[in-house]
Symmetry: C2
Subunit: 263 residues, 2 copies
C-alpha cells in the first residue's frame, strides 16, 4: 500500500521556505524520528518514507518546534509526514553519536540555492530522539508529505537500505520493545479488536523472535484475566472455529502499568 | 561523607570564563544529568551536589562538548563534577518539556556581569538527557567541582528539594531500573566483591520496593549458575556464619545480555 503525492509543482518552493525558516522555528541540532510499527496478522511492519526523486528511504522524522514539548512535537511531526494522528508513542532513546550526520545529506543536495545560513543549519551536528508508535494497520491510511513520494508499510525482514543511522534506530526500538514488553500496551495497540489466541501468540512470537509453547501461552494469558471471550457463531463447522477474544481495556491497562509478567 | 572545595579564590573568574566560552564549546540547548546510584549494604543512595553559597541541590550534570559523542560527553561531565570515572552508565530518557528551565536559575543570578550572549546561552530552552550510573560506594571518593561545595551520597528517602526537574529525573531512573532489572548488571556493580545471599536479596528488595520470598530468591539465584560460593572460614562460630558469594563475571554478563529472568 502506497500513496503517490501530487503536489510536485509547488514542492521546491515550499521546501526552500521550510529550510530558510528552520533556524527561527525549530530547536537547533535536535531532530526526532519515529519507528511506527503495525502488525498485519502475520508480520510486524514499519512505516517508511521514500525521498522525492531519489531512491533514499527513511523513517518519518523532523525537527522540534521551539514552543512545544518534545512529546507533543513528535506527534505533530508524524501527523505532518504521514497523516497519522492519535497514536500510542513511547520514547526509547536519544541517538547522540557526533558523526551521525557528518556526511552531507544526498537528498538535500539539490537545494543549492539555499542561503548559507540555511545550509549551515541543515548541516550542523544533529542528535535525534527515537520514539516508536504502535498502530492498527487496518485503521490508518498513511500518506506522504512534501519531501517524499512514497509512504508505506515494509516488513522488518524486507527493509531497504536506510538513510543515516535509521536502521540502528529501528533495531534499538525493537530491542526496547522486547525488553519492556511486560510494560507496554502492545497487544491492544497492534491486534484487531477481536482476535484468536493463536494470532495473539503469533504477535508475541514475531516481537520476541522465538517460538512460544502454545499451552503455556494460553494458560498464562487466560490467568491474567484481561481477556473477554466471545461465543462462537452457530454456523456450519463452527464447532471447529477458534474462540475470538477481546481485551478488557481497564483490566489490560491496569496490568500493563504494573508489569504484565507473562514472558 | 562530604568534601569541601577550597579553590573559592579563583572560583568566580573561572565560572565567568566557563559561561563566556560555552557557546563555542558546547552543543546548544542540550545538557546531560547523571543519577549516580550506590548501595551501602542497606539502602540505595544517590550522589548529589550542592551549589556554592546557596542551599540548592542538584544532580551532577553539564553540557555536551561539540566534538564528543553524548555517551562520552557524559563520562567527561561526571568525571569533572565528581571525580568519578570508569563507571557503568546507561541512558534512560530525554527530558523535553518546553518549560523545564523556563525559570531563571537562582544559583546563576550572581553572574550579572556576564555578556548578554552568555546570558542568552544559559537561559535558552534546555532539554536534558538522563543517564544513570551504578557505583561501588566503598571504592570511590566523590569530590565537588568549581560550581559546588558539597558532593555527597543521600538516601533516596532523604532527598532535599532539588533544582529544576531533577526529582523527576531520579524517579524516572528508578522506574527504568526496576523495569529493566533483568537486563542490567545491577548486582555486580552495586554489591561488594563478596556478599551474602541476604545482602543480594536486600539489594533487590530496595530496588523493587517490595519484600521477596527468601527461599524462592535463593533457589532462583543459585539455579542461574552465576555465583561462586566461597568456603566458610574455620573460626569460632563460623558454622553459623552465612556463605559468602561472588559473581562469575563471564557467566553473569552473558545472562544479563539475554535477560536474567529471576524476577
Amino acid at each position: 500500500m502506497s500513496n503517490e503525492h501530487n503536489s510536485s509543482l509547488t514542492l521546491e518552493t515550499n521546501i526552500f521556505e521550510y529550510f530558510e525558516a528552520a533556524k527561527d522555528r525549530f530547536l537547533p541540532g535536535i531532530s526526532a524520528d519515529a519507528v511506527i510499527l503495525g502488525y498485519d496478522g502475520q508480520h510486524i511492519k514499519v512505516l517508511l518514507l521514500k525521498a522525492q526523486d531519489v531512491d533514499i528511504w527513511m523513517l518519518p522524522g523532523g525537527f522540534i518546534e521551539k514552543e512545544y514539548d518534545i512529546d507533543i512535537a513528535v506527534h505533530r511531526i508524524v501527523k505532518a509526514r504521514t497523516g497519522l494522528e492519535e497514536l500510542y508513542f513511547q520514547q526509547f532513546k536519544l541517538f547522540g553519536r557526533s558523526d551521525r550526520n557528518a556526511h552531507k545529506q544526498e537528498h538535500l543536495k539539490k537545494f543549492q540555492e539555499l542561503s548559507s545560513a540555511a545550509h549551515d543549519w541543515i548541516n550542523q551536528r544533529f542528535i535525534t530522539v527515537g520514539y516508536f508508535a504502535l498502530v492498527h494497520i487496518e485503521d490508518v491510511a498513511p500518506k506522504p508529505d512534501l519531501f517524499t513520494n512514497i509512504c508505506e508499510w515494509v516488513a522488518l525482514d524486507q527493509l531497504p537500505p536506510l538513510i543515516l543511522d535509521h536502521q540502528e534506530i529501528i533495531d534499538t526500538a525493537l530491542t526496547y520493545l522486547r525488553r519492556q514488553l511486560n510494560y507496554l500496551p502492545v497487544g491492544i495497540n497492534l491486534l484487531p479488536e477481536r482476535f484468536t489466541m493463536s494470532q495473539f501468540q503469533n504477535l508475541y512470537e514475531e516481537i520476541l523472535k522465538q517460538k512460544l509453547d502454545r499451552g503455556n501461552f494460553q494458560r498464562k494469558m487466560l490467568k491474567l484475566d484481561i481477556l473477554i471471550r466471545h461465543e462462537k457463531l452457530k454456523k456450519g463447522g463452527a464447532h471447529k472455529a477458534p474462540y475470538l477474544y477481546e481485551f478488557d481495556s481497564d483490566k489490560y491497562h491496569e496490568k500493563v502499568r504494573n508489569g504484565i509478567g507473562f514472558i
